[in-house]
């Protein structure tokens, strides 16, 4: 077991997108609960938000291995 500060930063960087993705899907669930017929439109938008939030962590992951 060895590592460096990169991995601590990687763990810290997972917090933000984690919270963001939780909020996005909370909003999606309450939206579908209010208006079930809009589920398809909402799902596409939610996936888009999920992906944009996730990109932050993924970029950090790539950089943590590169540097």
């Amino acid at each position: 077991m060895d590592g460096n500060l990169n991995l601590i930063g990687l763990g810290l960087s997972a917090i933000g997108p984690g919270v963001a993705i939780g909020l996005i899907f909370a909003a999606l669930i309450s939206g579908i609960a209010r208006q079930p017929e809009a589920a398809n439109v909402l799902f596409g938008r939610a996936i888009l938000g999920f992906v944009l939030a996730e990109a932050l962590f993924i970029i950090t992951l790539a950089i943590a291995f590169v540097l």
Partner: protein
């Protein structure tokens, strides 16, 4: 992979993706990529060969996939006027990425091609060229750059700040994020599966009963992560195609 208890556990790292050439300069991902093209073309040819009014099983599956890309990705994001021009590209992209991702969980292949970043960069560049080309076809070259970088309805003094930012976010950064998102997901997923598998094997063969029980838990977690990967692999193919479609739709949208 036989690990004796005396050995120290070496966790799999980025070196896991450095595969030796099979013959000459040809590596496993190259073979898989070529195979994926053959699979996509072959399966789609078989599915569309009959073109019966009452579809068989394969034709039905092909039509389902095509309908999904055509309606819920292309039409909803590009708009009903021009979406058919881009459906062939988007459908090919979707099938290509999804086949290459699912290599990661097929026994014996077990290597997602797109965990090597070099295979994604050309694909992202093609998507980039397609949406910029679509915008130029719609608005003309200068018209497209104005459309993409100058937001309407803001005072002129703030444009000095906004135009470079819009240029950066709409034109420069997009291929990078497309590439890194797919690469990072495939890379991390494959690494995670390898970590659970090797770690579980190491714990099982360590000779300590409690460690062995933990090793069984590690294998169970590996299986669960495998199911998660099934979702992620589909999602990444969907998202890559969706974002390509959204960029095209934004590029050919009318000015407000």
């Amino acid at each position: 992979m036989s690990v004796t208890a005396a050995e120290e556990f070496i966790a799999p790292g980025p070196g896991l993706f450095e595969l030796p050439p099979i013959v000459w300069e040809i590596t496993k991902p190259m073979v898989l990529l070529t195979l994926s093209a053959v699979i996509v073309i072959g399966v789609m040819h078989l599915a569309s060969r009959q073109a019966a009014v009452v579809p068989g099983r394969l034709q039905f599956a092909g039509e389902q996939a095509y309908d999904f890309v055509r309606n819920s990705i292309a039409r909803d994001n590009i708009g009903a006027d021009h979406y058919m021009k881009f459906v062939p590209y988007l459908f090919g992209l979707f099938m290509f990425i999804i086949i290459n991702n699912y290599y990661g969980i097929v026994p014996l292949l077990q290597f997602p091609t797109f965990s090597r970043i070099g295979y994604i960069i050309p694909m992202a560049l093609v998507s980039w060229l397609v949406f910029i080309g679509a915008g130029m076809w719609r608005h003309g070259a200068l018209g497209y750059f104005k459309h993409a970088t100058v937001p309407s309805g803001v005072p002129p003094w703030i444009l000095v700040l906004l135009v470079p930012l819009e240029f950066l976010s709409n034109i420069v950064v997009r291929p990078f994020t497309l590439t890194l998102r797919l690469f990072g997901n495939m890379f991390a997923g494959h690494l995670l599966l390898a970590l659970f598998a090797t770690g579980g094997a190491y714990l099982l063969t360590s000779g300590n009963v409690l460690y062995a029980a933990t090793g069984v838990l590690a294998f169970v977690m590996g299986v669960l992560v495998g199911f998660l990967e099934i979702i992620v692999m589909f999602l990444q193919a969907y998202v890559f195609t969706l974002l390509s479609a959204m960029y095209i739709g934004e590029a050919i949208a009318e000015d407000h």
